[in-house]
């Protein structure tokens, strides 16, 4: 801990430490998804034909729309942080609200995307799934697991951003104290970062 006296009446806080802590957590997330990407790459390398055919089942348009939605939501979070630094609370709240809206749209799209698969009897553990060839089964299992885990992260991100929005609203987050908003933003960018790789891997590469 710093021994130099800080002449502040408020409680001790160390924004750099919070941020380093957040980054360390983000690194564990990167390695978690990184490990899954390696699993995907190895199986793809061993089952090139099956993966090629299976990937055609996914809608590029749907994936592209969701990619753009996530990119926009990342920009709105970044703007919200700039806004709070500029003491523009209204702008910050508006941007956070927009981010939450985009996150919701992303999940709704995902719902329809997964829903269409489920309707065709394609879901983990279904009869159809167990009848698939080894390569197809690997592709779809990884697809459901990785996009599912990503969707869980979206939901966690939404909770963090909602808490931040609430705290901006009641003044707990302000222009000199916004590390919670910053950390929630970092988490949200991580969610975007993961999708940046998920999209080409599952939807595009052939």
């Amino acid at each position: 801990m710093e021994t130099t006296a800080t002449h502040h009446a408020d409680m001790h806080r160390d924004d750099d430490a919070s941020k380093i802590g957040m980054w360390l957590f983000i690194f564990t997330e990167i390695l978690l998804f990184g490990g899954l990407f390696i699993v995907y790459s190895v199986y793809r390398f061993r089952n090139p034909v099956a993966f090629h055919i299976a990937h055609q089942e996914l809608s590029i348009t749907m994936g592209l729309i969701n990619t753009i939605i996530l990119l926009i939501s990342s920009a709105t979070v970044a703007i919200s942080i700039s806004a709070i630094q500029k003491k523009d609370r209204k702008m910050s709240m508006m941007m956070l609200g927009m981010t939450l809206l985009f996150a919701l749209i992303f999940l709704v799209n995902k719902y329809f995307e997964w829903g269409a698969k489920f309707e065709h009897g394609m879901y983990p553990g279904s009869d159809l799934m167990t009848m698939l060839s080894h390569g197809d089964m690997l592709f779809f299992s990884l697809y459901f697991f990785m996009t599912g885990l990503h969707a869980v992260h979206i939901i966690v991100g939404m909770v963090l951003l909602s808490v931040s929005l609430f705290k901006v609203r009641n003044g707990a987050i302000h222009s000199t104290r916004f590390v919670l908003l910053e950390n929630s933003g970092l988490y949200w960018h991580l969610v975007d970062l993961i999708w940046i790789f998920l999209f080409p891997l599952f939807y595009l590469i052939h």
Partner: protein, 95 residues
């Protein structure tokens, strides 16, 4: 220790510019992978995805403006990840 005066404020319009750049790169990826380039498809998609990831890390996640320690840590983690990829594929390619 200085509290908040080291914070760099990024202008709104810069965020918007970065956003347009990212969307443009996404569209380029879709365009490139829709033509038949054989093995280069994967390479092109992954290179562009890495560029996009770097842009998100540097600008949206403020690595470019924050203290060096964050950039340093992130670089090490990425290098570790690449090392694992290389070791894994040495195994699978040459077994």
């Amino acid at each position: 220790m200085s509290k908040d005066n080291h914070h760099h404020i990024v202008e709104y319009k810069n965020h918007i510019l970065v956003l347009f750049l990212l969307i443009a790169l996404t569209v380029i990826t879709v365009a490139i992978t829709s033509v038949e380039l054989g093995p280069y498809n994967t390479a092109a998609a992954m290179v562009i995805a890495s560029i996009k990831a770097a842009i998100v890390l540097m600008y949206f996640m403020h690595l470019r403006f924050d203290q060096k320690i964050y950039r340093f840590m992130a670089t090490i983690v990425i290098l570790i990840f690449f090392a694992v990829i290389i070791v894994t594929f040495f195994d699978y390619l040459y077994r």
